[in-house]
Structures are given as structure tokens and as C-alpha cells.
């Protein structure tokens, strides 16, 4: 099914999220949509899948102009969207999720549906048991469930929004193989990503977007540098590792033990020095989050002590840690960091140093304007948090951090960010480390861990399975440890 987007405009207030986008996707092609965060990719895909209606422009499917008032209309027209977080109802079983979106309210024939599910799974080599509760599926399997569900509903255009976030390498290979197979069967696949390698590996054609506009189109393969230049106007050099002078002990964990079973009984001790960067690696849910929460005072360990700059903080609550200049920045930017509905100015008032009862809005706006400029946040001081793109939300969060932090704890500092934003984030973090802030960050990106950490802690099933010097280790060693294979089994460093 061929698809044409003609001159799509979509504005949000003053922000031109889509400013005259025209894209043609041919039948049976894998079409990449590449762009940095905030380029307008997600908005365009939401228009195409019926979540937003465009201000102007046309969507033409097989030569016919169609109107999409809701996601319902889109799927009825054969356009299916796979969201970044698969839309799976966790308490439901696989088969109930499968049939949930099907039209009609009448009799539910689970057996017939299960047969269809099985046939689709066999065709694409998925293994989904109809009776399994969806919460037991991995993110990759949830995606597979979504894909077969959309196919079953008759999707002939499949949109995937950043589908490789949070899935394993194996699952990614499987996903790509499936997408290639689908394209061969005549499906049009739109692959939205900011990852160059993935687009290069998968797509036959690519459209590059920047600031709400199409800035380039190319038949693959093209050199990565050319794509980067289209996205950013210039090629970006990868940064070298930077070293910093380490100060005295700043964060000290002494024989920490958890009672909840999230961390094993094996006591954990750690000494982080001023200016040191500790990377935390491991499969999701291996205990890193609990570890960070202990460091932040959000979880009190059963045994052991937590001290910051020589002061014993054990048993104090999160706000006590905050007063001791420890700050925790979790992964959910809009859920656990920013406040939906409040403007950038209001965020700075909340976190600012001015504690007067009455707010001086004139001054607050000035401060916010300065910060917006200084941190190059794409938005105005009156923009609400949720109107910002992921990268700009991260910029706002960093701008809101108190000065003179002793310890900064972060989860996935650059998850979902494009290269430019990610580099910018680390520039800010490294500047803080030069000022003596100790940084402890969890990440799933091994390159990021290797490039920015001094030491790397690898978690496996609730305990630290390895502690590595970043300068003398490599991706393979970390990867094996993450999978639970210790160094002596692999013969040490390369």
C-alpha cells in the first residue's frame, strides 16, 4: 500500500511541530524517518495514526485521500502504529490483549482468535503463549504481540516509533528480520529512529527531519556522515574520554544490606570520591534502581551505613539527603522530574533559591529566559513541561539542578536523546564533575558507560558481580558480566 503525506502542517501554539511535510512511502519498502529529538517525527506519526489531526495537509493512501479522526479510523484504513512503549494491558493475558482492539462488541471467540494468533506467530517465528499474562512478557515480546495484533486487524502500513529502546540485541535482530519479511510481503514499514546505525542496517530509503521540516531524502545506503550532516548541519566527532582530578571520599556506602530481596544478602561497600564518575551497568531490574535509591535516601538499607562527605546520613529520608546536596534524577522525566501543566518559569521558581512567600514574576521570567537561553532549551519561558521534547525536558531538568551538588545520581541520563543532546548533557555533567560533584549513573548504553565513567559497577541478579576500571575494560567484558559471566570464566581482560 503506497502512502503519501502531502504538505502536513501541525502547530502547537507558536511551535511548528510539522511545517509542511511531504513524504512518499512506496509499497513494500522499509522507510526510515530520521531526526533528532524534537524534530517533529513523533508528531507526524501521531497525525498519521489518528491521534492528532493535522492543521492542514493531506494523507493519501493508494491514491485516495483519507480523513483520520481517531486511531480507530487509522487502523480501519490499514495504518497501524507500534508505540515506543507497547500498548499492552499488563494484567490481561496474551490472547485478551490480542483481541482487545478488534471491532465489534459481540461474541468473543477466543479459540478462533488463538488459532489466528498461532498462525501469525508461526509465520514470523514468534513464541507467544495465548494464556500467558502479558506482564510476564519482555518488552521485545510485547512488541511482537503488538505487531501480530496490528497485522490481524489488517494493518498494511506499520509505523514503529523508536522500537529498539529497551529491547535486547537478540530481540532487535528478530524484530529487524520480521520487518524485512513484512516488507517483502508488500507491507509499507515506517521506522522512526534517531539511531543512524539502525536506519542504515534496516531501511531502503530514509527521510531526515529537522525542526519540523524535511531536510533530506536518500536511497540507502549512504555514508553515515552524510546523514549526520543532514540532521545537524555538520558531522560530529566522537568525544575522547576525559580524566579529572579526584578529591576526597564523598559518598561512602558501608556494608549495605537490603531486606527486600532486591539486593542480595551480600553486603555492598563503595567509596566514591569527589569528581568521580561511577557507571552502573546491568540488565533492567538487577538491583541498580534499588542501589541508586539507597544512595538517594529513598530506601533505607536493613544494615550498613550511608555517609556523604563524612556525615552519616543512614536512616534519613530523601529530603535529608537533598539538604546534604545529594540529588537523584530518575529516568521518567515527565513522571519523576517535571510537572505537567507548569511552565518553565514556574519550574525555576519551585527549584530556585528565592524562598520569599510572594513571587516576583517579573524577576522569575527574567531568570527563566536566561536559563532557556543558557541551556539552549527549545521553547519559551512560558512553555509547559509536557510541550517540550524529551531532549529539551532533560535540558530543563539539568537546568533545575541545584548548584554545588556533592552527589548526583542519575538513571539513563541520555536515554532517547539524539547525539547532539546526549553530548550536550554529558558536557554539563562533566563540568559538574570538574566542580567536585560525584556522579553515579545507571545506563544501558555500554559506550556511554565506557566513555564517561571512571569505574563501572556491574549488577547481576541483585548484587555487584564486577567492579571495573573503565579505562582498562571493554564492551565485551561488561557485556559478559551483565549476562552473569564473571571475569575468571572469560579469561580476564582482552
Amino acid at each position: 500500500m503506497s502512502l503519501e503525506l502531502r504538505d502536513i502542517h501541525k502547530h502547537f501554539g507558536p511551535v511548528r511541530a510539522n511545517d509542511g511535510i511531504t513524504i512518499t512511502v512506496e509499497t513494500g519498502t522499509l522507510h526510515g524517518l530520521l531526526g533528532e529529538n524534537g524534530a517533529g517525527k513523533s508528531t507526524l506519526m501521531k497525525v498519521l495514526s489518528g491521534f492528532h489531526s493535522a492543521d492542514s495537509g493531506e494523507i493519501v493512501l493508494d491514491g485516495k485521500t483519507i480523513k483520520l479522526a481517531s486511531p480507530d479510523d487509522a487502523i480501519a484504513a490499514g495504518i497501524g502504529m507500534l508505540h515506543q512503549d507497547p500498548l499492552v494491558f499488563l494484567p490481561f493475558s496474551v490472547i485478551d490483549n490480542f483481541v482487545l482492539g478488534s471491532p465489534g462488541e459481540g461474541r468473543l471467540d477466543r479459540r478462533a482468535a488463538a488459532a489466528d494468533l498461532e498462525e501469525l506467530c508461526t509465520r514470523y517465528g514468534f513464541k507467544l503463549d495465548p494464556a500467558t499474562p502479558a506482564r510476564l512478557l519482555t518488552v521485545g515480546e510485547r512488541q511482537q504481540l503488538e505487531i501480530v495484533r496490528l497485522l490481524w486487524l489488517g494493518a498494511r502500513v506499520l509505523i514503529l516509533d523508536e522500537p529498539t529502546t529497551g529491547i535486547s540485541a537478540d530481540q532487535r535482530l528478530k524484530l529487524f528480520a520480521t520487518l524485512k519479511a513484512l516488507a517483502e510481503e508488500g507491507m509499507s514499514v515506517i521506522f522512526v529512529s534517531h539511531k543512524l546505525e539502525e536506519v542504515a542496517e534496516l531501511c531502503e530509503r530514509v527521510t531526515v527531519m529537522t525542526r519540523g521540516k524535511v531536510v533530506g531524502e536518500a536511497e540507502m545506503p549512504v555514508p553515515a556522515e552524510q546523514l549526520v550532516e543532514m540532521m545537524f548541519g555538520q558531522a560530529i566527532e566522537p568525544q575522547e574520554r576525559t580524566e579529572a582530578e579526584l578529591g576526597s571520599s564523598q559518598l561512602k556506602l558501608d556494608s549495605i544490606q537490603m531486606s527486600t530481596g532486591l539486593l542480595s544478602d551480600e553486603p555492598l561497600s563503595l567509596d566514591v570520591r569527589a569528581g568521580e564518575v561511577i557507571g552502573v551497568a546491568g540488565m533492567e531490574g538487577s538491583g541498580q534502581d534499588t542501589f541508586l535509591r539507597i544512595c538517594a535516601g529513598m530506601v533505607t538499607p536493613k544494615l550498613g551505613k550511608v555517609a556523604v562527605a563524612g556525615e552519616d546520613l543512614t536512616g534519613r529520608h530523601y529530603h535529608g539527603f537533598l539538604d546534604a546536596d545529594v540529588k537523584y534524577l530518575p529516568a521518567g522525566r515527565l513522571e519523576e522530574g517535571l510537572i505537567e501543566g507548569l511552565t518553565i518559569t514556574e519550574h525555576f521558581v519551585l527549584t530556585g533559591s528565592n524562598r520569599r512567600f510572594f513571587i516576583d514574576w517579573e524577576e522569575a521570567r527574567r531568570v527563566a529566559e536566561d536559563q532557556v537561553e543558557h541551556f539552549t532549551i527549545k521553547g519559551t519561558e512560558a512553555s509547559t513541561a509536557e510541550s517540550l521534547s524529551g531532549g529539551n525536558q532533560q535540558r530543563l531538568l539539568l537546568a533545575m539542578l541545584p548548584a554545588n551538588l556533592k552527589v548526583l545520581l542519575m538513571e539513563h541520563p541520555t536515554r532517547g536523546l539524539d547525539i547532539e543532546s546526549a553530548d550536550w548533557v554529558w558536557e554539563q555533567l562533566l563540568a559538574r564533575r570538574q566542580d567536585g560533584t560525584s556522579i553515579v549513573f545507571a545506563s544501558a548504553d555500554l559506550d556511554e558507560l565506557l566513555r564517561y565513567s571512571d569505574r563501572i559497577l556491574v549488577f547481576f541478579s541483585g548484587r555487584v558481580i564486577g567492579e571495573l576500571e573503565a579505562a582498562s575494560t571493554n564492551v565485551d567484558e561488561i557485556g559478559l558480566l551483565i549476562g552473569g559471566r564473571t571475569a575468571n570464566a572469560t579469561g580476564g581482560q582482552s
Binding site: Y318, E340, L342, F358, I359, W361, T384, M400
Partner: protein, 355 residues
């Protein structure tokens, strides 16, 4: 601006339209009852001779609705559905009644004491909802509803028990309070300029709170995202409790005005359901304190004016209740519908998360 006007106009016209339709169905021409409502609340022609007591009554019904609305704006902004406001009004009335019955001092001081007692009574009852919520994890809707029932029962108990009229075991109310405890009234009506001023000051105060203070901004932040607020360093529980205390105190003042400014005694239904009505007012007013003034006045007019409807027109006396139900539902529907339309057409939030 257009959509903002729509968001008020649409529900209001829907309310009026469905009211007219209801009256037609009830077999009266719609003009007569509406005229009667205006006549009953403001006099006819409005504000002319002999209408002073009606206007006074309407204002004194407006006061508790406006005060409760001011309080509810605070809890709504903090993200709390303070259904317990009825109980807070009642406990304010009980506390004020206690002072009015037990304390004998000069009038200005006694009036001040009843107001203070009323505010404290409502505040503590509100605090209780908040404590149940923050310390016990009891949803404020259920906690508030439960405490409403407790407050209602306590009123009935006091009226037929310790505070009963000598020789009479009746639920019609306590003895009338001594004159010195009553809110000073104006020109032979029940209109108390003091009560009206307190309501206006409360609305102004709430406007200032959310317009220009750090406390108000923090309350709003807590209401919109408790987790982020906590991580930013806001003591979220303290702010939740604070919102319940402010709302409870204002509700308590509403109860005081009911007891010492309108009924002049404690009666079982002392709250007049104005707390529930205020929920509707606040939703209609979109949490804007100054919009509360006309909207709550409109409801006060209906409340006062419709009391004589069934007497004057040949309609079933239950019509009043049906009318109120239709009002509430059509307003809710209108609000929801205009919000839905605004969302469809403007999608003002670009990051609107659908994942």
C-alpha cells in the same frame, strides 16, 4: 480567549436549555418558574420595595457556597477531591454553635469567637481527612464521605440530645442563639455585610495564593505531580494537609455563617448541601476564584427562589429536586463536552503522551 468563553458559555446554556425543557415537560410554561425564581430571590421587579429580605436571603445563601468554593479551589489545585467539605461545613457550624451557646462576652468579641471557632472546627475536620489520606492511605473521597456521615449524625445527636430545646424532643433544631452571638445583619434582612466581606476576602485570598505565592505554586505542583514535587524537594504531605486545613477553615466559616447568620440555630441539615453545590460551582468556574462569584450567586438565586415554586405554580413539589439534578448533570456534561472539543480542535499539549 474564544475557547475559554466557550468553556463557560456552553455548559451554562446547556444548563438553561435543559431546565427550560424540563419545565416544559412538567407542564408549565418555562417563563413563569424562571420569573418566580428571580422574584423569589431578588424581588420583582428586581431589588425593588419589599424585596430586601429576599435579597438578603440570597446573599446569605451565596456566602456559604462562595466560601466552600474558595476552599475547594485550594484542595482541587492540590489534586484532592475533598468530598468531605460537607462535614467540614457542619463541624464549623457545630463549633460556632457551641461558642454561641456557652460563651457570654460582649457582642463583637463573641461574633469573632464564633467565627474563629467555626474556622477551627472545620479546619480540624479537614485535617482529619488529610491525615487519613497521608498517614493511612485512605482515599480522601471515602474518608471525606465517611466523615460527612459522622458530622451529620453528630448534629442530629446534639439536637435531640444535649442541646435539645427544653421539653421538646424534636429534630427541628436547637433553641435560637442569643442575639449577641448572631452575625450583625443589615436593614431588617438577614444580610450580613460581615459575612459577605469574609467570603469576598476568602476568594481574593485564594486568588492571590495561586497567582503570586510560592506556597500556592507548590500546592499546584503537588496536585499535578506528587512524585516529581517530592523529588524536587517539596514536603508533599505537609502541603496536602495544608490544603485540607485551608479548605476546612473556609468551610467552617461557611458553616458558621449558616448557623449564626441564616438559621440562627443549629438544625440537622445545617450545611444545606452547599458543599456539594460548591463542587459544581468550582468545576463550572474552572477553579477561577472571581468566576465563582457570579456562578455561586446564580445557584443561590435558584436555591432561594425555587423554594416557593411548588406553592405558586401547580407543579409537583419534587420538581425542585429534579431541577437540581438536571442542572448538575447538564453542567457536567457541558463541561466535559467542551473540554473534549477543545482537546480535539486545539490539542494544546504537543507532548500529550499517548504511549
Amino acid at each position: 480567549m474564544r475557547s475559554r468563553a466557550n468553556s463557560v458559555l456552553l455548559p451554562v446554556s446547556l444548563v438553561v436549555g435543559s431546565t427550560v425543557l424540563l419545565l416544559l415537560l412538567a407542564g408549565t410554561n418555562p417563563w413563569d418558574p424562571l420569573k418566580l425564581i428571580v422574584q423569589g430571590s431578588l424581588g420583582w421587579p428586581p431589588f425593588e420595595g419589599g424585596s430586601a429580605s429576599k435579597v438578603g436571603d440570597t446573599f446569605m445563601v451565596w456566602v456559604p457556597i462562595a466560601l466552600a468554593s474558595a476552599g475547594l479551589i485550594v484542595t482541587f489545585n492540590a489534586g484532592m477531591w475533598n468530598i468531605g467539605i460537607e462535614g467540614q461545613i457542619i463541624m464549623g457550624a457545630i463549633a460556632a454553635a457551641w461558642v454561641a451557646r456557652e460563651v457570654t462576652v460582649a457582642r463583637p468579641l463573641l461574633v469573632a469567637l464564633t467565627l474563629l471557632a467555626g474556622a477551627i472546627g472545620g479546619m480540624l475536620w479537614g485535617l482529619l481527612v488529610g491525615v487519613l489520606r497521608t498517614a493511612g492511605g485512605v482515599n480522601e473521597i471515602f474518608g471525606g464521605l465517611g466523615l460527612d456521615f459522622v458530622a451529620i449524625s453528630l448534629t442530629t445527636y446534639l439536637i435531640i440530645g444535649p442541646w435539645q430545646r427544653p421539653g421538646v424532643a424534636s429534630t427541628s433544631g436547637t433553641e435560637v442563639f442569643p442575639e449577641a452571638a448572631l452575625l450583625p445583619s443589615f436593614g431588617g434582612s438577614r444580610l450580613s455585610l460581615l459575612a459577605v466581606s469574609i467570603a469576598l476576602i476568602a476568594l481574593l485570598g485564594v486568588w492571590v495564593l495561586f497567582r503570586g505565592t510560592l506556597y500556592g505554586l507548590k500546592l499546584k505542583a503537588v496536585g499535578r505531580n506528587r512524585r516529581s514535587s517530592f523529588l524536587i524537594g517539596i514536603a508533599t504531605n505537609r502541603y496536602l494537609l495544608g490544603s485540607f486545613m485551608i479548605c476546612g477553615a473556609l468551610a467552617g466559616l461557611a458553616g458558621t455563617s449558616q448557623a449564626t447568620g441564616f438559621q440562627y440555630k443549629l438544625i440537622p441539615a445545617i450545611s444545606g448541601n452547599y458543599g456539594f453545590l460548591a463542587i459544581l460551582v468550582v468545576l463550572l468556574a474552572r477553579f477561577r476564584p472571581f468566576l465563582v462569584i457570579p456562578i455561586s450567586f446564580f445557584f443561590a438565586m435558584i436555591a432561594v427562589g425555587s423554594s416557593s415554586l411548588s406553592l405558586r405554580l401547580d407543579v409537583n413539589p419534587t420538581l425542585g429536586g429534579v431541577l437540581q439534578g438536571v442542572l448538575v448533570l447538564s453542567a457536567m456534561f457541558g463541561l466535559g463536552w467542551s473540554a473534549y472539543r477543545a482537546q480535539r480542535s486545539e490539542a494544546s499539549v504537543s507532548g500529550e503522551s499517548v504511549t
